[in-house]
């Protein structure tokens, strides 16, 4: 038991969070949603509650009109595992998955009206798992087919998190093409990173399902899911085993990892330190002695008849005002120096070259 106690105290964290992001939309990117949902499922199974998971899915595959098996998202063509399940809680969905929202979640600079389920309320004793998947390239990850997040921005966001001690240790996993480029620029301490492919390599998908018509999972995440299915909350498997998942023979791409920023040896890092939520527990040996008879206390409150007003809805939005509002006049700003200079140059050159006499033809 002493060994167990030692191991529990070695990691130093008291709670676990997970931020799982799928960045691509459209039906043919089914596999990215399936990737994210399989990591979600493993993380929930190993103990992290929904209140500590921020799940961002850029598109809805389960209820997509093109899904021949609605309300399901499968990970394997034998349809053994429906990773959508009964109790998936998506926090950021569809168009809410943007680079801005992702960075807001990480850094905590969220508008005050954001509900608690959309926030990452981690503290300095939280271990955070960040999983991202989608289409990527050398140094960037594409969000929603219209914007990108670069590796420098991601590294800066992690540094902002470290400055405010929003994590104890961070595990970053990315399954995209050229995924290793995304963790090249990290410089904050206590970050361990895994990627599905090196720079210059593509991450490949696993296998298509002819019934559903798309590729169901990416190879790397498929083998990671297989690996995680063997893990249970009390298992002692460490990170070195996770590094071995999906060798080149199975994955075609070469998975990479980065541990130089991490203080502990990966040998000592349990999978459940990040994927599960094993809490440190102490037996309570003390009690407070309470005086049970206190004279000055009425045990029963007198029945109060409160005159209650009939309930009605509060004024939510001034709808009448909004409908009839005129569009706000944008303030006019004079053109800036660069534009003015450019036009002055163009006009001067034109008239010098072609002569002043042409001016009367212009005006």
């Amino acid at each position: 038991f002493q060994d167990h106690a030692e191991q529990f105290f070695r990691s130093g964290h008291t709670n676990n969070w997970a931020v799982l992001v799928c960045t691509s939309r459209f039906w043919f990117n089914y596999r990215h949603v399936a990737n994210t949902l399989s990591v979600y499922r493993s993380v929930k199974r190993l103990g992290i509650p929904d209140s500590h998971i921020v799940l961002m899915l850029a598109d809805d595959m389960a209820c997509n009109p093109r899904n021949p098996k609605p309300a399901t998202v499968f990970s394997h063509k034998n349809m053994e595992l429906n990773v959508y399940g009964d109790d998936v809680e998506v926090d950021y969905r569809s168009y809410e998955v943007t680079v801005e929202n992702f960075l807001r979640v990480l850094t905590g600079r969220i508008p005050p009206s954001t509900p608690r389920s959309k926030r990452l309320l981690s503290d300095d004793r939280s271990n955070i798992l960040i999983y991202m998947t989608g289409h990527g390239g050398n140094g960037f990850l594409k969000f929603q087919d219209s914007e990108e997040i670069t590796n420098v921005e991601l590294a800066d966001a992690f540094e902002q998190m470290w400055q405010k001690r929003r994590y104890n240790e961070l595990l970053f996993i990315i399954d995209t093409c050229q995924g290793a480029s995304m963790y090249e620029r990290f410089y904050s301490p206590n970050i361990m990173a895994l990627a599905s492919s090196q720079v210059g390599e593509d991450s490949l998908s696993h296998q298509p399902d002819l019934g559903i018509g798309v590729h169901l999972m990416d190879r790397y995440t498929f083998y990671v899911l297989e690996f995680l299915e063997e893990i249970h909350p009390a298992s002692q498997t460490n990170m070195n085993d996770l590094f071995q998942v999906c060798p080149k023979s199975l994955c075609v791409s070469t998975p990479g990892h980065r541990t130089d920023l991490f203080q502990r040896d990966p040998q000592n890092v349990l999978i459940t330190d990040f994927f599960g939520s094993v809490r440190k527990v102490e037996i309570t040996t003390e009690t407070v002695s309470l005086d049970r008879d206190l004279a000055g206390f009425e045990s029963k409150f007198p029945e109060e008849e409160l005159a209650t007003e009939p309930l009605k809805y509060a004024e939510q939005l001034p709808v009448a005002q909004i409908i009839h509002q005129k569009p706000k006049q944008k303030d006019w700003h004079p053109p800036g120096g660069f534009i003015l200079g450019l036009w002055a140059l163009i006009i001067m050159v034109f008239f010098k070259t072609y002569g002043i006499k042409h001016m009367k033809h212009v005006f």
Binding site: F1, Q2, H4, A5, G12, T14, N15, G47, P49, D50, S51, V99, E100, L103, R104, T107, R109, I110, P112, R116, S117, R119, L121, D123, D124, R125, T150, V152, E153, D156, Q160, Q163, K164, R165, P233, A234, Q263, S277, V278, R279, K280, V281, E282, I283, T284, T285, E286, T287, V288, S289, L290, D291, L294, F297, S299, L345, I346, V349, K352, T353
Partner: protein
């Protein structure tokens, strides 16, 4: 940079004055000590002691029969500002303190100390008492745990709740077997009777809000073992960490507030698993039948007595003994905040604080740690904000962000000043304000830096736009320059 000043009064009762005083009473003395957390951070503690002899009233109070009565009688005569301490020295042979006890720590801010012969021995003992009642090097290091290198701190240092402006306390009753047990708990009454006095005392530290709920069919994640010898079910210590997670998903974290939540769960085991006891590491059943998890809360197992007659009709009605439950929950609350009595040396006797839950000096202990932690947090936050704004030049700083920063700086400076003057209350309030302002400034939604323009991308965007446009302009410019130069060489012929 930060100086923690504790004003102390050492009052010598009749017959307890040591022979080797350097100066006649009353006189003042200062003891300074440096607590260094890492290479750059250190905190100086300064005990400003006033040695004097007792007044007539204090002498009369010290003549009481027991230490408890003496402490009660002395209470109205002493300085009760937050952070100050008063030590009454009694003669070595005094019977006021029981045999073997050298220090009696009252539940307010005073202690009765047995004289030790020489001044040096007395001062050593006084130093020990002062550290127990205000702060120790380890408690300050724990408060500054962000800055300490990892190897130095004991794992204990990381388990206390961080200083926060408020806490939510949720009491939950888990009834996995409603068919067999109808459990009634008067939680409202218990909260008003037992919990409110403690929270009222802690209201200085933070805002507390309390709620409660009852969950049915919520089972523990672990199946307990049946033990034939005691004919009861046992939960071993190493299976306890896995108990919490399945329950946590059902607890429902509060949607309304962003304060840390402390969950206290009362579990009434199913009839088929009754009675259920928790085993500690050595295999002995735990007397409180409860365990807690740092920064999360606590769980207590409440066993229902088997009914007298076998044919009792189900469901059995259970009236929970809230006093027994609250004794454990309040103890867990104290432990979660870091107020444990384990580190106190054996020759000390601590007065029980009764229904208030914690002694005044324990409150001070918490305030010292939180003030230091707040000041450290504010300085880290403001420094990192300044670094961020330096690095990314084109973030626009709104006026209210700027005013929050100024307010945070002013508050933290006043907190440090108040600490160096020994005003703990004012220092704590100033540090709380500083933390609020600095957090508001740092986490302002407008400070998002989506403004990374790498150089190669800048070229890639602007060159295709401006290069074709610039070609005729540059060529014409060159032509103009050539013409002007030619004109200068040959003066224009005027006809």
């Amino acid at each position: 940079q930060v100086q923690l000043v504790v004003p102390m009064a050492v009052v010598f009762g009749p017959g307890s004055v040591p022979g080797d005083l350097p100066r006649p009473l009353p006189f003042r003395d200062v003891q300074e000590m440096e607590i260094s957390v890492n290479l750059r951070t250190s905190v100086t503690s300064r005990y400003e002691m006033l040695y004097r002899s007792t007044t007539g009233q204090e002498e009369a109070a010290l003549a009481a029969a027991t230490a408890r009565e003496a402490a009660a009688a002395l209470h109205p005569l002493q300085d009760t500002t937050l952070g100050s301490l008063t030590m009454y020295v009694v003669p070595e042979t005094s019977s006021l303190l029981p045999q073997g006890i050298n220090v009696y720590v009252g539940k307010h801010r005073s202690a009765l100390v047995r004289a030790g012969g020489s001044l040096a021995a007395l001062q050593a003992r006084l130093r020990e008492v002062a550290q127990v009642m205000s702060f120790t090097a380890s408690s300050i290091a724990a408060a500054l745990s962000d800055r300490a290198p990892d190897g130095q701190l004991s794992p204990d240092a990381r388990r206390y709740l961080k200083s926060s402006l408020g806490y939510e306390i949720t009491f939950s009753l888990l009834n996995p077997d409603p068919k067999s047990h109808t459990v009634d708990w008067d939680i409202e009454g218990a909260v008003n009777l037992y919990v409110k006095p403690v929270l009222d005392k802690l209201s200085l530290v933070a805002n507390f809000s309390v709620d409660s709920q009852i969950l049915y069919y919520a089972v523990l994640g672990v199946t307990p073992r049946y033990d034939k010898e005691s004919s009861s079910f046992l939960l071993s210590a190493h299976s306890l960490p896995h108990v919490i997670n399945p329950v946590e998903a059902r607890l429902g974290s509060s949607a309304a507030s962003l304060y840390p939540v402390l969950n206290f769960l009362l579990y009434v085991p199913e009839r088929s698993h009754s009675p259920l006891y928790i085993q500690d590491k050595d295999g002995a059943p735990v007397s409180t039948n409860a365990f807690h998890s740092p920064r999360w809360g606590g769980i207590m197992v409440y066993n229902v007595e088997a009914p007298a007659s076998r044919q009792a009709s189900l469901p059995l009605h259970v009236d929970v003994d809230m006093a027994r439950v609250m004794e454990v929950f309040l103890a867990q609350l104290r432990l979660l905040f870091g107020l444990s009595r384990e580190e106190v040396p054996p020759e000390f006797l601590l007065e029980r604080p009764g229904n208030e839950g914690l002694a005044d000096w324990e409150l001070d202990h918490l305030l010292w740690a939180h003030t230091v932690e707040n000041i450290a947090t504010v300085s880290t936050t403001l420094t990192s904000l300044a670094q961020l704004l330096d690095k990314i030049g084109n973030i626009v700083i709104k006026d209210d962000v700027a005013s929050e920063v100024y307010r945070a700086v002013a508050s933290v400076q006043s907190a440090v000043t108040e600490l160096s003057l020994g005003h703990l209350h004012a220092a704590f309030q100033a540090s709380k304000e500083a933390v609020t302002s600095s957090e508001r400034a740092f986490f302002d939604p407008s400070l998002l830096h989506l403004l990374y323009f790498p150089d190669d991308q800048k070229f890639a965007i602007y060159i295709p736009l401006f290069l074709p446009m610039a070609v005729p302009i540059l060529l014409s410019l060159a032509k103009i320059v050539r013409e002007t130069r030619q004109q200068k060489k040959e003066p224009t012929k005027m006809d």
